[in-house]
């Protein structure tokens, strides 16, 4: 596989790079800068050469994109099918209509909009508070020197390695004990679920933010301190603005995590009205009597759309954030 891969800069890579420059010039398009630097004259376009250089890459790309997108195309197509069952959804885009969307949004037996609202509230509040709590901790770890600092950082990361999901039985029992005393924040409440999620607010997030905070020069804080700013003021008005990109990334990752979270949400949220999309939609299609695949697809499209848009919008930062931990 990899032995056919020309590595840029290596002999073959260079060769191919050169070829491609000529090719770009020959076609008169491509990268203008490359075209400008090419001084050789026009050379006839040879398919074989082009294919060995970049053509096969496009073949790989097209195959991969087909693999990546075909479930997406399928679900969009079936969501547009006015009265589709699973079988009816197999002829892609045979019928187009928005009936399925209307059904999922208005069916009184399926409180889709309530689930959607619940999910947005739970995931949104969790994301905001996670970022806030994580940023507070990251600021302390990054800017202050205190005994137990290194130990604290390592502990937080190690504790985080054990997924909360594994303690779901204990979480359920703790929350049911809490509901005996304070029903407003116990089982079956959104506040309770958010509190449980905030148990994971420190951890990898803090570590990610800590790394980013360290890239902000400490001299900025010192200058502000000399000017008479308090630590709280420095944190809220200076640092938080300078680290905004990582805050956005952590918020998004936390948001996606909560949208996806099923185990704890399904254990804690009992009433249908209180549940999240993950719990509700899963129940919806796991019930064999409910054969309205088109309506489910419409719901899936509506549910996925905001996350996908946000993701694509922030993808540059996300990629940076993902590799920040490993790639220096």
């Amino acid at each position: 596989m990899a032995d056919q891969t020309p590595v840029p800069g290596s002999q073959r890579g260079l060769l191919i790079g050169g070829l491609r420059e000529e090719h770009a010039a020959a076609r008169g398009g491509g990268d203008p800068e490359l075209a400008r630097t090419t001084t050789s004259g026009k050379r006839p376009f040879r398919f074989g050469r082009w294919f060995r250089a970049t053509g096969w890459r496009h073949v790989v790309g097209i195959v991969t994109v087909a693999f990546a997108l075909f479930p997406v195309v399928f679900v969009i197509s079936s969501s547009l099918n006015p009265n589709g069952t699973l079988t009816g959804s197999n002829a892609l885009f045979s019928k187009i209509g928005l009936d399925a969307y209307a059904r999922i949004l208005t069916n009184p037996q399926v409180p889709f909009t309530t689930w959607f609202g619940n999910t947005l509230i739970i995931a949104g509040v969790t994301a905001l508070l996670t970022v806030f709590l994580g940023a507070l901790a990251a600021y302390a770890f990054s800017r202050m020197r205190f005994t137990g600092r290194r130990f604290g950082l390592i502990t937080i990361v190690v504790v985080q390695m054990f997924p909360q999901m594994l303690a779901v039985v204990a979480i359920f029992l703790v929350m049911s004990a809490i509901s005996d005393w304070f029903p407003a924040i116990g089982l079956n409440t959104h506040i309770g679920l958010i509190m449980v999620y905030l148990g994971g607010a420190l951890g990898v997030n803090t570590y990610l933010m800590y790394g980013y905070f360290n890239t902000v020069p400490a001299s900025i804080d010192e200058a502000a301190k000399i000017d008479g700013a308090s630590h709280a003021r420095i944190f809220f008005t200076i640092i938080l603005r300078l680290v905004a990109p990582i805050l956005a990334v952590v918020a998004l990752l936390s948001f996606i995590f909560s949208v996806n979270e099923y185990v704890i949400a399904s254990a804690l949220l009992i009433d249908t009205e209180n549940q999240t999309l993950a719990v509700g939609l899963t129940k919806l299609v796991s019930n064999p009597r409910y054969a309205d695949w088109a309506a489910f697809s419409a719901g899936a499209v509506i549910a996925a759309l905001p996350v996908v848009v946000l993701f694509l919008y922030l993808q540059k930062y996300i990629v940076g954030g993902l590799s920040a931990g490993s790639v220096k």
Binding site: A2, S10, Y262, L312
Partner: protein
Amino acid sequence: MSTTFDEDVEAEKASPPTKRQKRAARIADAASGGIRSILVKLLLLGIVDAIAVYAILVLALSQEWLVLAVVVGVTALVNWIYFSRRTLPAKYLTPGVIFLVLFQVFVLVYTGYVAFTNYGTGHNGTKEQAVSSLMAASLERVPDSPTYQVTVVDQLGTLGLLVTAPDGEASLGTNDQPLQQVDPSDVENGKAVAVDGWTTLQFSDVIARTSEITELAVPFSDDPNDGAIRTPDGSSGYLYTSNLEYDEAAGTMTDLSTGTVYSDTGTGAFTAEDGTEILPGWQITVGFDNFVRAVTDSRLAGPLVYVTLWTFAFALISVATTFFLGLFLAIVFNDMRMKGRRYYRVAMIIPYAIPSFLSALVWAGMMNESFGFINQVIFGGASIPWLTDPWMAKLSVLIVNLWLGFPYMFLICTGALQSIPEDVNEASTVDGASAWQTFRHIKLPLLLVSVAPLLIASFAFNFNNFNVIYMLTNGGPRDTGAPIPVGFTDILISMVYKVAFTGQTRDYGLAAAYSIIIFIVVAVISIIAFRRTKSLEEIN
């Protein structure tokens, strides 16, 4: 990861500040806090304290002294931290740490405790609760019971019965509170109809809450053997006594109709001599029973072994397949001169952007044996048992997880490749290495150093990748031979979830024991893995 800590700490270690410097810093700090920030601080602490006082009151009422002590301690600590001048780092760490300790550390410890109990269906509460619910469940109307006049009353949603005995005496009680004599505030025709502190239910309310009212069984006295008052219609009540007789001194339950004696044999339920138990029982500590049962009961040990093996296989194969596909694509698209790379890239990361529970459900639809897109369209009507055959289901899970996971690997491999300096190629070319040799012996090791921690993280993630299993196959196909709801594609975490929360009987104790086993496995793997990566770093 751990080496990063070392470097950072080393680099930032400065000479400790002198006493004067410390004092100067404190003064500067004190001078800089504005009046507004002090007010905000006071307000926030005031809210925290008010909530704490409320919590303390509630806990005192329900006599939860241990929890109360914890609340008092934490509140005092929080106040001290935010009023003290010396606890600056703690001011920033406390909010997150409170949640971390309660919902991450404490629940972990609590899981350990639950693993040593018989907590679950039929063993939910204390012995007293078990006794009273057993008695209540076997209530039968006393044939010659006199008629008691009753009025249904309500206090903050709790229903009670205001009972007028045939001799005219009024008393009040609820499901949890035995009858106690009261002075009615209103009596009509010799029937007490109102009492202070309670709202009398009107006829329409009685109709609306019929089911709740017929469930009411107000104990006649503290002794459960005295029976309870129940009302079929909300206006007249009768004495019901239990079929069971509880002897507190001997700790036995006697079934009056058959004469069988059930006694407390230390198994958490009243047990007859022939071994039959009557449920509900109560919660007791069972020591290592759950662990022993999980590994020695052959019907449980079999599933535990194959689920564990499959969990490892699933996690390893998932990491390997996604990594190699991601790496391959990263290399393919890491050619600066290829056109349209951006568009390919955006299309390829879409699977990563869609919430995984949705994609797994969509795949489950597409892989449906008789109606799914894959069989109907791609394989022209074949009926390939994607999700119903044990081996095919495993393959399907891996395919779907490959689809879900390769974009992530593609992204991190692209990042890692781009961070490898170009002169590596030149140097190896000069030395006469082929592109493959350069890749295999120079680039791949360099790449592995930077992505190895992420591969371990990915392994850990897949080890507990609940969503893809549960949404796609629901762990199925089901293993009908096992006494717990386990299937052939279940991984450990989905098995824990099913044992705890699905099926007829919920066995929290067993589920917690499984959790502990997973904890240990994860911990051992993490330690080994991190040691390995460290040695990898030393090589380079």
